[in-house]
């Protein structure tokens, strides 16, 4: 492994295998099989795969919460079991397994103390992060009173308390509404802009596509696809033109040109916005015009519900 070590790599995984066994040592399930991949400094890396494909297991092996059956893992140049590496890591678990009896201030203060931060620095980081995740109005409430979205936000805040170089996010948008999802994705992109390396696991493909530079797709514990999102998704077999609205005459001319070049015209349509875009637009307008309501059209005469 040492021969393949690259200083640009934040994470190096070599032939990583994980087999879960029962009490008697009998094999229950093989969660990972000879996984080899690197994550480079400053990129947003996505681990994709269906449920049970080994994404979370990979993250937990990186964090030393699980021990590999075979293979090696190095994180920030140190073995996964080395506690010192955690000084530069932030981790957001799949569920926000935080202490629900603490409030937001206490939570961040507690995790700050684990990083041996002096009180003044803890206060500064705590205030900045609470503002960043938008929990100023709920900072004194115990986490057990938080909604799912608020819990994810405070979870992200605790992951960032030490201003980490590497952020590991396990299903960061899981359970969030579209607004929360958008905020989370924006925060991930902010982290990237700050030069941090982000590794996220998710099965929500649109989210990954929006933020990740590179992805790995796992299936049944095996690496199936690895590469840049753009490279993987780009199709060279088709060409897409995007223009302003065309008149019927202009459209006919375009068709004629395509026919002259013997190119098949597959589809001509007006683009539709995504549901996410519509939702975000509606919420944004509602914020600006609180009194405005949608009024349903009156049903046509004679029509009735079945």
């Amino acid at each position: 492994m040492a021969a393949e070590t690259n200083s640009d790599n934040v994470i190096e995984i070599r032939n990583l295998t994980k087999v879960y066994r029962d009490f008697w040592g009998r094999k229950k399930v093989q969660a990972l099989n000879s996984l080899t991949l690197d994550v480079k400094k400053g990129e947003v890396f996505g681990l994709l795969g269906p449920n049970g494909s080994g994404k979370t297991t990979t993250l937990k092996l990186l964090l030393g919460l699980l021990f590999p059956t075979n293979g090696e893992v190095r994180v920030l140049g140190k073995p996964a079991h080395d506690v010192d590496k955690n000084e530069r890591i932030g981790y957001l678990p799949e569920e926000s397994y935080l202490y629900r009896f603490l409030n937001a201030d206490e939570t961040l203060d507690f995790y700050g103390r684990l990083f041996n931060m002096p009180p003044a620095e803890r206060r500064r980081r705590r205030d900045a992060l609470i503002e960043r995740v938008g929990l100023q109005n709920a900072r004194r409430r115990q986490l057990k009173e938080y909604s799912k979205g608020m819990t994810r936000r405070i979870g992200l805040a605790q992951a960032l308390i030490n201003d980490p170089d590497l952020v590991l996010l396990d299903e960061p948008t899981s359970g969030l509404d579209p607004l929360g999802t958008r905020d989370m994705k924006d925060m991930i992109l902010d982290l990237k802009r700050e030069g941090k390396t982000v590794v996220m696991s998710s099965h929500l493909l649109a989210d990954v596509q929006d933020v990740c530079d590179r992805i790995a797709i796992l299936y049944a514990g095996e690496l199936k696809v690895l590469g840049h999102v753009q490279d993987l998704l780009q199709s060279t077999e088709e060409t897409q033109l995007r223009t302003g609205r065309l008149s019927e005459a202009a459209l006919a001319d375009v068709k004629a040109v395509l026919a002259r070049h013997e190119v098949e015209l597959k589809e001509v349509s007006h683009p539709t916005a995504t549901l996410e875009e519509l939702f975000l637009k509606t919420v944004s307008e509602s914020r600006q015009r609180p009194g405005h309501r949608f009024v349903a059209e009156a049903p046509a005469a004679g029509s009735s519900r079945g």
């Binding site: 937990k60 890591i89 103390r113 684990l114």
Partner: protein, 555 residues
């Protein structure tokens, strides 16, 4: 309860502790090596060495701030999960406890009230300590909250120590509140006539031997009057039989006393009714062999207050100056033939003390009656301390017991789940609190006679099945030799195991407090402190390695 226990020798205790820790570590190391070689072949020893190194590094790089954060978290968790509500039960007990304690005799009123307070505090807090410490960490692992801690630079040892300190803090808070309430309740509830019993006597014990009825000195035991409880030995009245107590009277606090206060607790054994309405009588004889003085004090014999509960009734005050008005001063043996008449007055310390020691012989002065006594039945009574001092010491001992329970519980919870840890700690508590005496007796018998009465476990089962009594010899064959051999190994194993289970009895100061004694430093307080530290250190190490070697994700 025996109040006359041997003071601890810290150096010897440390040596024994080192021996046990080294032996335990070696056993663990051998087991780890065997398992690692089975699992990883020749790489096994290397893995063990690496793990040992990582653990040592983990322990050596603890930071107070992180430990403090984890301890505070644990404290907050316990408080916010309403653990302190247990104090409501305590208050309820005290609201109505008085109903059941009032209206009985004044003689032991203080004792009843003290025992009630101490028992209530102890048995309300012990289950809390057990449950908190055994269930906290497994719940943290199960809910995966611990994931967010161990993925920070927190060491495993800090997690264990933080938990121990946090739970200990909660227990100390509850103990403090209960102690204050208990003390106020005692002062208010003990009947005014019995409040004088709330004292803390400070005894100074001596050594003891016997002189037989024929005058033979240095006998270890007196006469056995047939009592199955051999704690006391008896001397026969109006014979040469004496109980000889030698006290170290060189300590400054002893010398500072103007009058010597002697408290006794003798027992009479009557072979005839004697004079109706009168107690058996005895005398003290102060002896200085080098100066040949023998002083009987007082001149007339003392009737023993055998059944008096109030200790003041069993106190004899010996004045510093002994003269012929209050005592009978004589020469020892035939010395008077050459020395002439003895002096009219003697100074207790200057004339009767010999090399810093004061010898007091006790005689029974009723013919045909016997007087029973043991070493703690006669002691110098130094100036009493306030009851509060003994009360605080007693609560301190209880506090350390709770800390020890928390330590053991937290350690157990690093390698087993909550219910199993509770069972394990419960077993420790039962063995250390209840069965320790039986175990020690069993081992002592084995040391004295080579085997316990009736044999070990298998031999006992054999005897029950064959309806054989404890004393008859077993038939000599391969089977009986085998079960005796196995029994011997079990007894040796028990002997080793008793070092791994703390003696919880020493933490309980109630017998001292209830009987009006101060809790002695070298006999109780220091051993309790050393025991707690002695378990805390290995438990921290075991807990660290245990947490380090397990996959926290695995449920």
């Amino acid at each position: 309860m025996d109040f006359d226990q041997i003071p601890i020798d810290p150096l010897r205790a440390f040596g024994a502790w080192c021996l046990v820790v080294i032996a335990f570590s070696l056993v663990c190391l051998l087991v780890a090596l065997a398992i690692s070689m089975l699992a990883a072949g020749l790489k096994g020893p290397g893995l063990v060495a690496e793990t040992l190194f990582r653990g040592a590094r983990d322990l050596a790089t603890q930071l107070p701030r992180r430990v403090g954060a984890l301890a505070t978290l644990t404290f907050r968790e316990s408080v916010r999960k309403k653990t302190l509500f247990i104090m409501g039960v305590f208050i309820l007990l005290f609201m109505f406890g008085h109903w059941f304690l009032a209206g009985q005799s004044l003689e032991s009123a203080a004792k009843r009230h003290v025992v009630f307070v101490m028992t209530a505090v102890k048995w309300l807090l012990i289950p809390v300590a057990v449950i908190l410490s055994c269930w906290g960490l497994p719940a943290d692992i199960k809910e995966r909250s611990l994931h967010t801690v161990v993925t920070k630079p927190a060491r495993r040892s800090e997690v264990v120590l933080g938990r121990i300190l946090g739970y200990s803090g909660v227990m100390m808070l509850m103990l403090l509140v209960m102690s204050v309430l208990g003390y106020i309740w005692l002062l208010r509830s003990v009947p005014p006539g019995a409040r004088s019993q709330l004292i803390a006597r400070v005894p100074v014990y001596g050594t003891m031997s016997f002189i037989s009825r024929e005058g033979v000195e240095n006998e270890i035991k007196g006469i056995n009057v047939g009592d199955i409880w051999e704690f006391r030995s008896f001397i026969e009245g109006m014979t040469n039989a004496r109980a000889v107590y030698i006290f170290d009277a060189s300590a400054p606090e002893v010398e500072q006393m103007d009058d010597l206060r002697l408290e006794y607790n003798f027992e009479a054994f009557r072979t005839h009714k004697g004079v109706m309405g009168e107690n058996v009588r005895f005398s003290f004889h102060f002896v200085n062999n080098s100066k040949h003085y023998q002083v009987k004090f007082p001149r007339s014999s003392i009737p023993i207050q055998e059944f008096a509960v109030d200790p003041e009734k069993r106190v004899v005050i010996v004045p510093r100056k002994l003269d012929t008005r209050n005592s009978d001063i004589r020469w020892l043996g035939d010395y008077g033939k050459s020395a002439g008449p003895p002096p009219k007055e003697l100074d207790l310390w200057n004339d009767l003390r010999e090399n810093g020691k004061l010898q007091i012989r006790v005689s029974c002065d009723d013919g045909g009656q016997y007087l029973g006594m043991a070493r703690p039945d006669l002691f110098f009574r130094l100036p009493d301390r306030p009851f509060l001092v003994a009360y605080v010491k007693s609560m301190f001992g209880l506090g350390l017991m709770l800390i020890l329970l928390v330590t053991l519980g937290t350690t157990a919870s690093t390698f087993v789940k909550g219910p199993v840890a509770t069972l394990l700690l419960g077993s420790f508590l039962m063995i250390g609190q209840v069965m320790r005496g039986l175990l020690e007796e069993h081992l002592q018998q084995t040391r004295d006679t080579g085997r316990p009465l009736g044999g070990g476990m298998l031999e006992s089962i054999y005897r029950i099945l064959t309806q054989d009594n404890q004393l008859s010899p077993l038939p000599d064959n391969v089977f009986t030799r085998t079960i005796q051999w196995i029994d011997q190994r079990i007894i040796e194993w028990l002997g080793a195991m008793q070092n791994l289970i703390p003696d919880f009895r020493i933490f309980d100061g109630t017998p001292y407090l209830a009987n009006g004694f101060d809790i002695p430093w070298a006999v109780r307080t220091l051993p309790v402190i050393l025991t707690t530290i002695g378990f805390l250190i290995p438990c921290l190490i075991v807990g660290t390695y245990s947490l380090m070697m397990r996959e926290l994700e695995a449920k």
